[in-house]
Symmetry: C2
Subunit: 321 residues, 2 copies
């Protein structure tokens, strides 16, 4: 059994090799650049953890893990285009550096190379793995589309918002765990419990992300605080606040001029506090974490093997970066 | 054995069903719309033809054919974004109608659904099919990137240009044929000859496309004549002309104001004629067609079975639309 840090280290070597041809460099250099920006590699580590819950890590699992990380990076490159985001992890996004057409193609080719890695799987599970991967990929696209639809919507209900987050964020975490379990030969029931664990954890993770964007320590978080507020992004906090505040407050908030950004952030943060949205978010996060733990308990394996997943849950929802 | 028209009709039913979920409609309606615009469905028909060259058409081949058509449409949706094209087949492009973010995601999800169709393949060939599909998909991305690189380049050599066309256009036609052959259980050598047939034919096809854009009958071609010239697109004709014309002529051509588009088209067409580029293109097209036929001859099967492919070759390079 390995901890999150140990599995991250194991994966680092697998991800450090180049995954792309060299020519044309105008296409593949941006791909190498973006993957090189790093990140926490949470999803591929989850794939290894799902595997190790049931068995020693199999070579096929590394192929699936790399495919998952490539897929995740493909979605980030395309999301950055859609969001017109200039920075990712403190560095220029692909479209900001090489233009939108190249960023679009770099994302496309990264998705294709993800399938190359899946196709390296030698066990009889290839078909089931591709099935799960495709279902997840479709759902992530659906989540991103709903996220964009919600940006234009006046009001979004909490159940609608949670469903969007499930699609956009949770299902990939859930499927990463399940792919590992599937490759280890876990039973269908255990796979479903592990998937449900990941899905609940993913929502907790996103609540924490939204919370940090509003109330985090900018030095640790590595991003500007209030970025979501400035971008008029619907977040857990925003959706809840819009449900809670009085119409009069809402009108005042909407009149805050976009130009004076620090004032806008300050007023929204004050509203969040006034409505108790910060406290509510921390409670909701715990609730989803507890749901996740119930699912984890139901998996029919020696509880000692579940320890790394418990640590992962704590890390993901207590992190301050 | 079936003709191109008969296979098109067989395919029509397979393509007419919806390939996507219904929700969210903001994502999937654009996908249905774009696929519904039709087109000649050349590539999936080639997949069926590659299969029928060696055996009766197998159910798996329809899955591969639909995957190929979805892949092709994914590339068109993304190419239209990159080219900022307002129209495709006389209708609004996806990004023109629903915006770039939705067009980007619609393309992405269409690629994922293409892999869903591949994953329906039940024979032992799934692994080889995905391998060939991925290699082709990567090459098509590379071709599109090179095409964009060439737009900015002052001069492009004919071998570089032909290599770009191979990647962007030919390999998908070649792979479509080969996938059909592979599913029919054809030998490796025959598969390679068929691939080479498709690759040469693809270049002929593109030369005809470029020729029609400059010298076609606008009513039959269904597009404005000279569109490539107005868009400053590198084509077979343009690359050859730039190699051929005198520096003085070139300076005059470059000084043609973009505003007066009919004058610009007329002057370039006159240059093409003066350099004999039109005649040259027709000869090059025949040369690649002949290369293709030599490859077809080498396939170790009753020549009578090759008849539909010979008809396809004639159709593709003699068409006036």
């Amino acid at each position: 059994m390995h901890s999150f840090e140990e599995l991250s280290a194991l994966l680092k070597d697998k991800l450090a090799v180049s995954h792309f041809p060299t020519h044309p460099s105008t296409l593949y250099r941006p791909a190498d650049y973006f993957l090189g920006l790093g990140g926490k590699r949470i999803r591929p580590v989850m794939c290894l953890m799902g595997n190790e819950l049931f068995a020693d890590i199999l070579p096929d699992t590394y192929h699936a893990a790399v495919a998952i990380e490539l897929f995740h990076n493909f979605t980030l490159i395309h999301d950055d285009i859609m969001d017109k985001a200039p920075l990712r992890r403190g560095m220029q996004t692909v479209h900001a550096r090489w233009g939108e057409p190249t960023a679009l193609l770099t994302g496309d080719v990264m998705l294709v190379v993800a399938y190359d890695y899946l196709n390296k799987i030698r066990s009889g599970h290839l078909h089931s793995i591709i099935h799960l991967f495709n279902q997840t990929a479709r759902e992530v696209c659906e989540g991103q589309q709903l996220d964009m639809d919600f940006e234009k919507a006046e009001q979004v209900s909490m159940p609608e918002y949670i469903r969007m987050i499930e699609l956009k964020t949770s299902v990939l975490m859930a499927a990463s765990l399940q792919m590992g379990a599937l490759l280890a030969g876990a039973g269908e029931q255990d796979q479903q419990h592990l998937y449900a664990f990941g899905k609940n954890l993913g929502i907790s993770f996103q609540i924490q992300d939204d919370y940090l964007d509003a109330f985090g320590n900018p030095e640790k978080f590595g991003k500007q605080i209030g970025g979501d507020i400035l971008a008029d992004k619907k977040t857990f906090l925003m959706v809840k606040a819009l449900e809670t505040v009085h119409q009069q407050q809402l009108r005042e908030l909407k009149m805050i001029p976009g130009a004076n950004s620090s004032e806008k952030i300050a007023q929204w943060l004050a509203t969040y506090k006034a409505c108790g949205v910060d406290q509510w978010a921390m409670e909701l996060k715990e609730q989803y974490k507890n749901n996740a733990l119930v699912c984890l308990e139901q998996i029919s394996i020696d509880p000692a093997r579940k320890k790394p997943l418990l640590e992962l849950a704590d890390f993901l929802i207590q992190r301050d970066y």
